[in-house]
């Protein structure tokens, strides 16, 4: 497995700014109108079905993702 690339603080800030940017109305509409492929639809349905089987209640889902988020944050700081 390849290593996760290490970002400098500047690169991370640039990436976050890119992710946080407001889209233009045209770009927003175009992205929204992009059709799903059959594979995307199948993958999405399978992932959601698994997630809801594994964590059947809202509080279980919230706790699980919070735990994963904290793990991710800890690893990112290493």
């Amino acid at each position: 497995m390849s290593e996760i690339p290490k970002l400098t603080p500047e690169q991370r800030a640039e990436l976050e700014a890119w992710e946080e940017r407001r889209l233009s109305p045209e770009e927003f509409a175009a992205r929204l109108a992009a059709p799903w492929t059959e594979q995307e639809r199948e993958d999405f349905d399978a992932l959601v079905a698994w997630f809801n089987r594994r964590y059947p209640t809202p509080i279980e889902r919230l706790k699980a993702t919070r735990h994963l988020e904290m793990q991710w944050r800890r690893n990112r700081l290493r």
């Binding site: 992710e19 946080e20 109305p25 927003f28 929204l32 997630f51 509080i59 889902r61 919230l62």
Partner: protein, 157 residues
């Protein structure tokens, strides 16, 4: 970084018992509905009059507001911080990127309650309204979230 001792159920109970009309929006709401997405923060939408009640309810959990209710009303946003980070949108109405004005009172009327524990529930917008809230900031990930919410809505019908 140490593991947080944050008690999520106590947090939701405090919000529910605060008397504030607080709607959980953002990705935490998506997760509660069953979508596997990641997020750091809680996002709430409240009317300005309810900021004081929400702030007071969370103080016992060592969560403190970054602005007074009056400042929050003027600014339209503030944060409640402790072990966790809560972004609070304070507005009577917010416009979407495609020009729709979304009124808090209307969204509150159509809210749904998700049970998160014995006698504790979380108020979230209906899926249709949650999609509208994703058009406030209109970031790339908001488009992804809308596409997922639309698919979830279709599979629930």
């Amino acid at each position: 970084m140490q593991a947080s001792q944050f008690d999520e159920l106590a947090f939701f109970r405090a919000v529910a018992d605060s008397g504030a009309r607080a709607l959980l929006i953002g990705r935490r709401a998506l997760i509660a509905l069953g979508l596997p997405v990641m997020t750091r923060d809680y996002d709430y939408w409240i009317p300005a009059d309810d900021a004081g009640a929400l702030n007071e309810a969370l103080r016992p959990l060592d969560m403190f507001p970054t602005r007074s209710p009056e400042e929050a009303r003027r600014n339209g946003r503030y944060v409640i911080e402790g072990d966790e980070h809560v972004d609070v949108l304070v507005a009577r109405a917010v416009g979407t990127i495609d020009g729709t004005m979304v009124v808090f009172d209307d969204v509150w009327q159509r809210r749904v309650h998700l049970s998160v524990g014995e006698d504790v529930s979380v108020a979230i917008p209906s899926i249709d309204d949650l999609i509208l809230t994703k058009k406030f900031a209109a970031r790339p990930r908001d488009v992804d979230d809308i596409r997922w919410l639309e698919r979830l809505r279709a599979t629930k019908r």
